[in-house]
């Protein structure tokens, strides 16, 4: 049962990822990315990481996607990727190299399969909250400073200067 659910969600994730890379239309790409993010959230839930599943939906499907959509709106899609490709052979090379990367990664997964400690089961969400506010307190606080810096940076960058 769990395996069937996994295969279903995994197919959805891979299909959406391929759609993002293959389809020319940027808006369609953004929609594919939403599907991909949502299916990864489902996988987090299956792995017992409930909090991350919800955070994934809020952060990616809610916030980051809206940013992308606004940028796409602003940038008038459809005027790029037309005309001859100046670096055609480089891009053609990307496919075999990507396949090679995939084979290497899968070889690593196959090599480590079955080794390591026995499965301990997922940590509870409570353990995550405790870890974030004790062991990881400093990075946690630094994250807020990073986000603040990002907000200020974006405002400075995007502000139209007079004249």
């Amino acid at each position: 049962m769990a395996r069937a659910a996994f295969v279903l969600v995994a197919l959805l994730a891979v299909g959406a990822a391929l759609g993002l890379v293959i389809k020319k239309n940027v808006i369609h790409g953004a929609m594919f990315l939403v599907v991909n993010m949502a299916s990864i959230a489902a996988l987090y839930y299956m792995l017992g990481a409930e909090f991350l599943a919800v955070a994934q939906i809020v952060v990616y499907a809610g916030a980051i996607m809206v940013l992308f959509i606004f940028a796409i709106m602003f940038l008038i899609p459809g005027k790029d990727e037309t005309g001859p490709d100046p670096r055609r052979w480089q891009r053609a090379l990307a496919l075999p190299l990507g396949a090679l990367l995939l084979i290497l990664l899968l070889a690593v997964v196959a090599a480590v399969r079955g080794t390591g400690p026995p499965a301990a089961g997922p940590a509870t969400s409570g353990a995550l909250y405790r870890a974030l506010l004790t062991d990881y307190l400093l990075p946690f606080e630094l994250t807020s400073i990073l986000l603040l810096a990002a907000i200020v940076g974006v405002m400075v960058l995007a502000k139209r200067r007079p004249g």
Binding site: M1, I27, H28, M31, V34, E50, F51, V54, A55, I57, V58, A61, G62, A63, M65, V66, I69, F70, M73, S125
Partner: protein
């Protein structure tokens, strides 16, 4: 004969889905009757006794209408948008515990799940606006995304006040924590939180006075202007389902959910009654105020609601820490 667990869940989900659709259909009648009373009219009256069959007539009418697809529409996006809009709006009902043990999934992060999934409706909203390839729909979708993002933050902070008071993200635990004192009656903090919740709900649901994305005089009918027939019905259904779900959440967070006098099986009834009260409160505001401008809406969110709700949440957190003796 007992069904396997997955089949039981499927049956329960099917029942819940149909109850939600029926409830939402009849809530439109409630709203129209209520609005009519406020304007000294009678409202729907001719279909069935006191207009009781009006929602069914409306649904039949929408089903029989021709389904028009604009020739220049982005077909995939246009056709998928109503579904993308409806699914999250109905999905959020899955976490609501209607009575002790009566609910689909009482997640231990129920509040977060509700907030996260309910914010997903902007994807469908945007798809509808973009896919229609209509300037009014596009403008409306941009306004809507802007507004929903702006008011999601105060909404979340207001909804977190009862969470901090109850000390749990689980919806059923929040209800049990209100035995004795509903959070709406909690001195100062509760009332402020409830008011903030209502205002943020109005804005996040695009209800008057915050309905700039369907402002009839400017944008025809907003992002659904090109939709007709069943697709229009799906969008309308999703919109009302979202408002009802948010009313239920408000009743649960601030008005004690299923708590009430009488035997336990009355719980779901009390819960629905309170949710309808919240809904009528929102409707009352809708028929009492005029629409405000875009810049005013955004200014209210970022300059007033957000700082106020953050401050309220901080005060609540300090109060809870001080009372439990844990803090300084």
């Amino acid at each position: 004969m007992t069904l396997p667990p997955i089949a039981q869940t499927a049956v329960a989900a099917f029942v819940l889905l149909n109850v939600v659709i029926g409830l939402v259909t009849y809530v439109t009648l409630l709203e129209r009757k209520f609005a009519a009373r406020m304007q000294s009219r009678i409202g729907p009256y001719y279909v069935g006794p006191h207009g009781l069959l009006q929602p069914i007539a409306d649904a039949l009418k929408l089903m029989m209408k021709e389904d028009v697809v604009p020739s220049s529409a982005d077909r995939w996006v246009y056709n998928l948008a109503p579904i993308a809009f409806l699914v999250p709006c109905v999905l959020i009902f899955a976490t609501l515990p209607f009575a002790p043990g009566l609910g689909l999934a009482d997640l231990n992060i129920g509040v977060l799940f509700f907030l996260a999934v309910s914010s997903l409706e902007i994807v469908g909203l945007f798809m509808g606006g973009w896919g229609s390839n209509n300037k009014y729909a596009m403008l409306s979708a941009m306004r809507g995304v802007n507004q929903i993002i702006s008011y999601d933050l105060p909404f979340v902070f207001a909804a977190l006040v009862p969470v901090v008071l109850a000390g749990s993200l689980q919806l059923s635990a929040i209800v049990t924590a209100q035995q004795g004192l509903w959070f709406a009656a909690y001195p100062v903090i509760g009332q402020l939180g409830f008011i903030a919740y209502l205002v943020a709900t109005l804005a996040a649901e695009n209800r008057v006075p915050f309905d700039i994305l369907e402002a009839e005089s400017e944008l025809v009918a907003g992002f659904r202007v090109e939709y007709s027939g069943m697709k229009f019905a799906l969008i309308q259904l999703g919109e009302y389902a979202h408002i009802i779900a948010t009313s239920y959440l408000g009743a649960l967070l601030f008005l004690g959910g299923w708590l009430g006098p009488g035997p336990a099986w009355l719980g779901a009834g009390w819960f629905t009654l309170k949710a309808m009260l919240v809904f009528l409160l929102l409707t009352w505001v809708r028929w009492s105020f005029v629409r405000i401008r875009v810049d005013q809406i955004l200014a209210i969110s970022w300059k007033l609601m957000l700082p106020a709700t953050v401050l309220l949440l901080l005060v609540t957190a300090f109060w809870v820490a001080w009372r439990s003796g844990g803090g300084a």
